[in-house]
Protein backbone atom coordinates (compact mmCIF):
# COMPACT_ATOMS: atom_id res chain seq x y z
CA UNK A 1 0.00 0.00 0.00
CA UNK A 2 1.53 3.29 -0.98
CA UNK A 3 1.87 6.14 1.51
CA UNK A 4 -0.58 9.00 1.11
CA UNK A 5 -2.87 11.10 3.17
CA UNK A 6 -6.03 8.98 2.86
CA UNK A 7 -6.47 5.26 2.33
CA UNK A 8 -9.58 3.85 0.71
CA UNK A 9 -11.30 1.42 3.09
CA UNK A 10 -12.14 -1.02 0.30
CA UNK A 11 -8.45 -1.20 -0.56
CA UNK A 12 -7.41 -1.69 3.07
CA UNK A 13 -9.98 -4.47 3.54
CA UNK A 14 -8.97 -6.16 0.30
CA UNK A 15 -5.30 -6.16 1.36
CA UNK A 16 -6.04 -7.57 4.78
CA UNK A 17 -8.79 -9.95 3.65
CA UNK A 18 -11.45 -8.55 5.96
CA UNK A 19 -15.00 -7.28 5.67
CA UNK A 20 -15.57 -3.53 5.44
CA UNK A 21 -18.07 -3.86 8.27
CA UNK A 22 -15.13 -4.32 10.68
CA UNK A 23 -13.85 -0.80 9.98
CA UNK A 24 -17.38 0.64 10.08
CA UNK A 25 -17.96 -0.93 13.50
CA UNK A 26 -14.69 0.62 14.75
CA UNK A 27 -16.02 3.97 13.60
CA UNK A 28 -19.29 3.38 15.50
CA UNK A 29 -17.23 2.80 18.63
CA UNK A 30 -15.24 6.00 17.94
CA UNK A 31 -11.93 4.15 17.60
CA UNK A 32 -11.19 5.34 14.05
CA UNK A 33 -12.76 8.11 12.05
CA UNK A 34 -13.87 7.73 8.47
CA UNK A 35 -13.85 10.47 5.85
CA UNK A 36 -16.24 10.37 2.92
CA UNK A 37 -14.66 11.58 -0.32
CA UNK A 38 -17.06 11.43 -3.29
CA UNK A 39 -19.27 9.08 -1.23
CA UNK A 40 -16.32 6.69 -0.85
CA UNK A 41 -15.15 5.94 2.75
CA UNK A 42 -11.50 6.59 3.54
CA UNK A 43 -9.37 6.45 6.67
CA UNK A 44 -6.59 8.88 7.42
CA UNK A 45 -3.11 7.50 6.81
CA UNK A 46 -2.10 8.31 10.39
CA UNK A 47 -4.89 6.00 11.68
CA UNK A 48 -3.47 3.02 9.79
CA UNK A 49 -1.25 1.67 12.63
CA UNK A 50 -4.21 1.95 15.02
CA UNK A 51 -6.52 0.14 12.63
CA UNK A 52 -3.95 -2.62 12.14
CA UNK A 53 -3.50 -2.94 15.89
CA UNK A 54 -7.27 -3.29 16.40
CA UNK A 55 -7.39 -5.89 13.62
CA UNK A 56 -4.62 -7.92 15.29
CA UNK A 57 -6.34 -7.79 18.66
CA UNK A 58 -9.65 -8.81 17.08
CA UNK A 59 -8.22 -11.68 15.06
CA UNK A 60 -5.58 -12.98 17.46
CA UNK A 61 -7.42 -12.55 20.74
CA UNK A 62 -11.02 -12.63 19.49
CA UNK A 63 -11.77 -9.35 21.22
CA UNK A 64 -15.15 -7.88 20.35
CA UNK A 65 -15.69 -4.18 19.49
CA UNK A 66 -16.69 -3.31 23.07
CA UNK A 67 -13.40 -4.80 24.28
CA UNK A 68 -11.45 -3.00 21.56
CA UNK A 69 -13.00 0.30 22.63
CA UNK A 70 -12.01 -0.31 26.28
CA UNK A 71 -8.47 -1.34 25.25
CA UNK A 72 -8.12 1.70 23.00
CA UNK A 73 -9.14 3.98 25.86
CA UNK A 74 -6.81 2.30 28.37
CA UNK A 75 -3.83 2.26 25.98
CA UNK A 76 -4.31 5.98 25.41
CA UNK A 77 -4.27 6.49 29.16
CA UNK A 78 -1.12 4.36 29.57
CA UNK A 79 0.53 6.36 26.80
CA UNK A 80 -0.41 9.65 28.48
CA UNK A 81 0.81 8.44 31.87
CA UNK A 82 4.10 7.22 30.40
CA UNK A 83 4.66 10.63 28.83
CA UNK A 84 3.82 12.31 32.13
CA UNK A 85 6.28 10.08 34.02
CA UNK A 86 8.96 10.92 31.46
CA UNK A 87 8.28 14.63 31.69
CA UNK A 88 8.32 14.52 35.52
CA UNK A 89 11.61 12.61 35.47
CA UNK A 90 13.06 15.31 33.23
CA UNK A 91 11.88 18.04 35.59
CA UNK A 92 13.34 16.14 38.53
CA UNK A 93 16.67 15.93 36.69
CA UNK A 94 16.87 19.73 36.74
CA UNK A 95 16.81 19.75 40.54
CA UNK A 96 19.52 17.09 40.63
CA UNK A 97 21.97 19.28 38.66
Amino acid sequence: METREFIRITEFCHNYGIEESFVLVLQDYEIVSIELIDSEPYIHEQDLPLLEKMLRLHQELEINPEGLQAIHHLLNRINGLQKEVYSLKRKLKRFEL
Binding site: G17, R56, L57, L61, N79, Q82, R94
Partner: protein, 297 residues
Protein backbone atom coordinates in the same frame (compact mmCIF):
# COMPACT_ATOMS: atom_id res chain seq x y z
CA UNK B 1 18.92 -27.15 22.11
CA UNK B 2 16.69 -27.10 25.20
CA UNK B 3 13.45 -28.98 25.41
CA UNK B 4 10.44 -26.72 25.86
CA UNK B 5 7.56 -27.90 27.96
CA UNK B 6 4.68 -26.42 25.98
CA UNK B 7 2.19 -27.60 28.59
CA UNK B 8 4.08 -25.68 31.24
CA UNK B 9 4.20 -22.57 29.00
CA UNK B 10 0.39 -22.56 28.94
CA UNK B 11 0.11 -23.64 32.59
CA UNK B 12 -1.47 -27.01 31.66
CA UNK B 13 -0.89 -30.71 32.30
CA UNK B 14 -0.59 -33.44 29.66
CA UNK B 15 -4.19 -34.47 30.22
CA UNK B 16 -5.49 -31.05 29.12
CA UNK B 17 -8.45 -31.16 26.73
CA UNK B 18 -8.70 -29.12 23.51
CA UNK B 19 -11.02 -26.77 25.36
CA UNK B 20 -8.50 -26.34 28.20
CA UNK B 21 -5.75 -25.51 25.69
CA UNK B 22 -7.89 -22.98 23.85
CA UNK B 23 -8.96 -21.35 27.09
CA UNK B 24 -5.41 -21.22 28.54
CA UNK B 25 -4.05 -19.83 25.28
CA UNK B 26 -6.66 -17.06 25.14
CA UNK B 27 -6.08 -16.15 28.76
CA UNK B 28 -2.30 -15.94 28.41
CA UNK B 29 -2.31 -14.32 24.99
CA UNK B 30 -4.56 -11.54 26.29
CA UNK B 31 -2.18 -10.97 29.14
CA UNK B 32 1.02 -10.89 27.09
CA UNK B 33 -0.08 -9.60 23.66
CA UNK B 34 2.53 -7.03 22.46
CA UNK B 35 -0.19 -4.56 21.46
CA UNK B 36 -1.41 -4.56 25.04
CA UNK B 37 2.09 -4.23 26.47
CA UNK B 38 3.71 -1.36 24.57
CA UNK B 39 7.52 -1.19 24.76
CA UNK B 40 7.73 -4.42 26.77
CA UNK B 41 10.25 -6.80 25.20
CA UNK B 42 9.60 -9.42 27.88
CA UNK B 43 5.88 -9.57 27.00
CA UNK B 44 6.75 -9.91 23.32
CA UNK B 45 9.05 -12.87 24.06
CA UNK B 46 6.45 -14.51 26.26
CA UNK B 47 3.76 -14.01 23.62
CA UNK B 48 5.95 -15.76 21.05
CA UNK B 49 6.36 -18.72 23.42
CA UNK B 50 2.62 -18.87 24.05
CA UNK B 51 1.89 -18.83 20.31
CA UNK B 52 4.39 -21.57 19.72
CA UNK B 53 2.91 -23.71 22.48
CA UNK B 54 -0.59 -23.17 21.10
CA UNK B 55 0.56 -23.95 17.56
CA UNK B 56 1.74 -27.37 18.71
CA UNK B 57 -0.84 -28.31 21.30
CA UNK B 58 -3.92 -27.15 19.38
CA UNK B 59 -2.97 -29.28 16.35
CA UNK B 60 -3.78 -32.96 17.14
CA UNK B 61 -1.04 -34.29 14.84
CA UNK B 62 1.67 -32.04 16.25
CA UNK B 63 0.52 -32.64 19.78
CA UNK B 64 0.70 -36.41 19.19
CA UNK B 65 4.27 -36.14 17.90
CA UNK B 66 5.22 -33.84 20.74
CA UNK B 67 3.64 -36.14 23.36
CA UNK B 68 5.19 -39.23 21.80
CA UNK B 69 8.78 -38.03 21.53
CA UNK B 70 8.88 -35.17 24.00
CA UNK B 71 12.44 -34.22 24.74
CA UNK B 72 13.68 -36.90 22.33
CA UNK B 73 12.17 -35.04 19.40
CA UNK B 74 15.61 -34.61 17.80
CA UNK B 75 15.71 -38.25 16.79
CA UNK B 76 12.03 -38.64 16.00
CA UNK B 77 12.58 -39.14 12.26
CA UNK B 78 15.41 -41.58 12.87
CA UNK B 79 13.23 -43.48 15.27
CA UNK B 80 10.34 -43.62 12.78
CA UNK B 81 12.66 -45.05 10.08
CA UNK B 82 14.04 -47.62 12.48
CA UNK B 83 10.54 -48.64 13.50
CA UNK B 84 9.53 -49.09 9.87
CA UNK B 85 12.59 -51.22 9.21
CA UNK B 86 11.86 -53.28 12.25
CA UNK B 87 8.31 -53.93 11.04
CA UNK B 88 9.62 -54.90 7.60
CA UNK B 89 12.19 -57.32 8.92
CA UNK B 90 9.83 -58.49 11.65
CA UNK B 91 12.69 -58.45 14.10
CA UNK B 92 12.54 -57.47 17.75
CA UNK B 93 15.66 -55.30 17.73
CA UNK B 94 15.30 -52.02 19.58
CA UNK B 95 16.71 -48.84 18.12
CA UNK B 96 18.21 -46.55 20.73
CA UNK B 97 18.04 -42.79 20.59
CA UNK B 98 19.47 -40.02 22.67
CA UNK B 99 18.10 -36.89 24.24
CA UNK B 100 18.35 -33.50 22.58
CA UNK B 101 20.70 -30.90 24.04
CA UNK B 102 21.68 -27.19 23.78
CA UNK B 103 20.24 -24.46 21.51
CA UNK B 104 17.20 -22.18 21.75
CA UNK B 105 13.48 -22.18 21.64
CA UNK B 106 12.69 -21.41 18.00
CA UNK B 107 15.18 -24.03 16.83
CA UNK B 108 13.30 -26.52 18.95
CA UNK B 109 10.05 -25.75 17.19
CA UNK B 110 11.55 -25.72 13.70
CA UNK B 111 13.50 -28.93 14.22
CA UNK B 112 10.41 -30.72 15.33
CA UNK B 113 7.77 -29.32 13.05
CA UNK B 114 9.69 -27.50 10.30
CA UNK B 115 9.78 -23.74 9.83
CA UNK B 116 6.08 -23.43 9.14
CA UNK B 117 5.59 -20.64 11.66
CA UNK B 118 2.23 -19.36 12.78
CA UNK B 119 -1.07 -18.48 11.24
CA UNK B 120 -1.50 -21.30 8.76
CA UNK B 121 -4.80 -22.53 10.04
CA UNK B 122 -6.70 -21.52 6.91
CA UNK B 123 -6.12 -17.81 7.45
CA UNK B 124 -3.74 -15.81 5.31
CA UNK B 125 -3.78 -12.42 6.94
CA UNK B 126 -1.35 -9.74 5.79
CA UNK B 127 0.37 -8.01 8.66
CA UNK B 128 2.30 -4.82 8.45
CA UNK B 129 5.87 -5.28 9.67
CA UNK B 130 6.81 -4.75 13.28
CA UNK B 131 7.63 -1.23 14.39
CA UNK B 132 11.19 -0.81 15.70
CA UNK B 133 12.09 1.45 18.61
CA UNK B 134 15.55 2.93 19.07
CA UNK B 135 17.11 5.45 21.41
CA UNK B 136 19.61 8.04 20.22
CA UNK B 137 21.79 9.77 22.80
CA UNK B 138 23.04 13.23 21.93
CA UNK B 139 24.49 16.20 23.75
CA UNK B 140 22.54 19.45 23.95
CA UNK B 141 25.24 21.14 21.89
CA UNK B 142 24.63 18.57 19.11
CA UNK B 143 21.09 19.81 18.54
CA UNK B 144 21.77 23.55 18.34
CA UNK B 145 21.93 23.21 14.57
CA UNK B 146 20.31 20.77 12.17
CA UNK B 147 22.62 17.93 11.20
CA UNK B 148 22.66 14.53 9.54
CA UNK B 149 23.63 11.33 11.30
CA UNK B 150 23.98 7.73 10.17
CA UNK B 151 22.39 5.10 12.40
CA UNK B 152 22.72 1.35 12.22
CA UNK B 153 19.40 -0.37 12.88
CA UNK B 154 19.25 -4.17 12.54
CA UNK B 155 22.45 -4.12 10.51
CA UNK B 156 21.16 -1.48 8.09
CA UNK B 157 22.61 2.01 7.84
CA UNK B 158 20.04 4.78 7.84
CA UNK B 159 21.00 8.42 7.33
CA UNK B 160 18.63 10.73 9.17
CA UNK B 161 18.31 14.48 9.49
CA UNK B 162 18.11 15.64 13.08
CA UNK B 163 16.32 19.00 13.19
CA UNK B 164 17.73 21.71 15.44
CA UNK B 165 15.89 22.17 18.72
CA UNK B 166 14.78 18.57 19.17
CA UNK B 167 13.67 17.90 22.77
CA UNK B 168 14.85 15.34 25.29
CA UNK B 169 12.38 12.43 25.12
CA UNK B 170 10.99 13.46 21.74
CA UNK B 171 10.26 10.64 19.30
CA UNK B 172 10.42 10.87 15.53
CA UNK B 173 9.01 8.33 13.09
CA UNK B 174 11.01 7.09 10.09
CA UNK B 175 8.46 5.52 7.81
CA UNK B 176 9.11 2.07 6.34
CA UNK B 177 12.31 1.35 8.27
CA UNK B 178 10.76 -1.22 10.63
CA UNK B 179 10.38 -4.98 10.19
CA UNK B 180 9.21 -6.63 6.97
CA UNK B 181 5.47 -7.18 6.53
CA UNK B 182 4.02 -10.63 5.96
CA UNK B 183 2.32 -11.67 2.71
CA UNK B 184 3.50 -8.51 0.95
CA UNK B 185 2.11 -6.12 3.59
CA UNK B 186 4.03 -2.87 4.14
CA UNK B 187 7.10 -2.59 6.35
CA UNK B 188 6.78 -1.24 9.88
CA UNK B 189 8.17 2.11 10.98
CA UNK B 190 11.22 3.05 12.98
CA UNK B 191 10.65 5.22 16.05
CA UNK B 192 13.68 7.06 17.36
CA UNK B 193 13.49 8.55 20.83
CA UNK B 194 16.09 11.21 21.59
CA UNK B 195 17.87 11.26 24.91
CA UNK B 196 19.52 14.67 25.14
CA UNK B 197 22.20 15.04 27.78
CA UNK B 198 22.73 18.60 28.94
CA UNK B 199 26.47 19.30 28.59
CA UNK B 200 26.08 23.06 29.06
CA UNK B 201 25.72 25.43 32.01
CA UNK B 202 22.18 26.28 30.87
CA UNK B 203 18.92 24.76 31.97
CA UNK B 204 16.56 24.18 29.08
CA UNK B 205 12.78 24.41 29.07
CA UNK B 206 11.51 24.04 25.53
CA UNK B 207 13.30 26.71 23.53
CA UNK B 208 14.06 28.89 26.55
CA UNK B 209 17.37 28.68 28.41
CA UNK B 210 18.08 29.61 32.02
CA UNK B 211 21.35 30.49 33.67
CA UNK B 212 22.41 31.84 37.06
CA UNK B 213 25.19 34.44 37.08
CA UNK B 214 27.09 35.67 40.15
CA UNK B 215 27.63 39.44 40.41
CA UNK B 216 29.78 41.21 43.00
CA UNK B 217 27.99 43.12 45.75
CA UNK B 218 29.49 46.45 44.67
CA UNK B 219 28.27 45.99 41.10
CA UNK B 220 24.80 45.10 42.34
CA UNK B 221 24.69 48.25 44.47
CA UNK B 222 26.40 50.71 42.15
CA UNK B 223 25.55 49.16 38.78
CA UNK B 224 28.01 48.33 36.01
CA UNK B 225 28.73 45.98 33.17
CA UNK B 226 29.22 42.21 33.14
CA UNK B 227 30.05 39.69 30.41
CA UNK B 228 27.73 36.70 30.08
CA UNK B 229 28.30 33.52 28.06
CA UNK B 230 25.40 32.60 25.73
CA UNK B 231 25.04 29.62 23.38
CA UNK B 232 26.38 31.67 20.50
CA UNK B 233 29.12 33.61 22.29
CA UNK B 234 29.74 36.28 24.93
CA UNK B 235 27.48 39.32 25.40
CA UNK B 236 27.91 42.41 27.58
CA UNK B 237 25.09 43.21 29.99
CA UNK B 238 24.40 46.39 31.92
CA UNK B 239 23.59 45.81 35.57
CA UNK B 240 21.28 48.47 36.94
CA UNK B 241 22.27 50.16 40.21
CA UNK B 242 20.60 48.63 43.30
CA UNK B 243 19.96 45.31 41.58
CA UNK B 244 18.35 42.85 43.99
CA UNK B 245 19.43 39.22 44.55
CA UNK B 246 17.38 36.89 42.30
CA UNK B 247 16.64 39.55 39.67
CA UNK B 248 15.94 37.96 36.31
CA UNK B 249 16.74 39.54 32.97
CA UNK B 250 15.62 38.26 29.57
CA UNK B 251 17.89 38.18 26.54
CA UNK B 252 15.44 37.93 23.66
CA UNK B 253 16.31 35.41 20.95
CA UNK B 254 19.42 34.17 22.78
CA UNK B 255 17.81 30.86 23.75
CA UNK B 256 17.57 27.53 21.92
CA UNK B 257 16.38 27.11 18.32
CA UNK B 258 12.64 26.43 18.06
CA UNK B 259 12.02 22.91 16.70
CA UNK B 260 11.30 22.91 12.97
CA UNK B 261 10.97 26.72 12.87
CA UNK B 262 13.92 28.07 11.00
CA UNK B 263 15.49 31.29 12.35
CA UNK B 264 13.29 31.25 15.47
CA UNK B 265 14.91 31.09 18.87
CA UNK B 266 13.71 31.06 22.45
CA UNK B 267 14.95 33.49 25.07
CA UNK B 268 17.80 33.31 27.56
CA UNK B 269 16.87 34.17 31.16
CA UNK B 270 19.71 35.28 33.42
CA UNK B 271 19.16 35.23 37.17
CA UNK B 272 21.56 37.30 39.25
CA UNK B 273 22.98 35.93 42.47
CA UNK B 274 24.72 38.60 44.49
CA UNK B 275 28.00 37.37 45.88
CA UNK B 276 28.71 38.51 49.42
CA UNK B 277 32.44 39.30 49.72
CA UNK B 278 34.63 37.20 52.02
CA UNK B 279 38.17 37.64 53.43
CA UNK B 280 37.71 41.41 53.83
CA UNK B 281 40.73 43.52 54.73
CA UNK B 282 40.70 45.76 57.81
CA UNK B 283 40.04 48.83 55.65
CA UNK B 284 37.14 47.16 53.87
CA UNK B 285 35.60 46.11 57.17
CA UNK B 286 35.98 49.68 58.42
CA UNK B 287 34.15 50.99 55.35
CA UNK B 288 31.27 48.57 55.96
CA UNK B 289 31.14 49.73 59.60
CA UNK B 290 30.87 53.31 58.39
CA UNK B 291 28.08 52.27 56.06
CA UNK B 292 26.33 50.58 58.96
CA UNK B 293 26.46 53.79 60.95
CA UNK B 294 24.49 55.54 58.18
CA UNK B 295 21.51 53.28 59.06
CA UNK B 296 21.62 51.78 55.57
CA UNK B 297 18.73 49.35 55.05
Amino acid sequence: MDFIDYYKVLGLTKSASEKDIKSAYRKMARKHHPDLNPNNAEAEKKFKQINEANEVLSDPEKRKKYDQYGKDWQHAEEFEKAKAQQQYRRTSNQQSYASGQGGDYSDFFESMFGGSGFGHQGREVKFRGQDFNAELRLNLTDVITQHKQTLTVNGKNIRITIPAGIEDGQTIKIKGHGGKGSQGAPKGDLYITFSIQNNTAFKREGANLYKTVNIPLTKAVLGGEITVETLTGKVKLKVKPETQNGTQVKLKGKGFPVYKKESQFGDLFITYTIKIPTNLTGDQKELFKQLEKTNLN
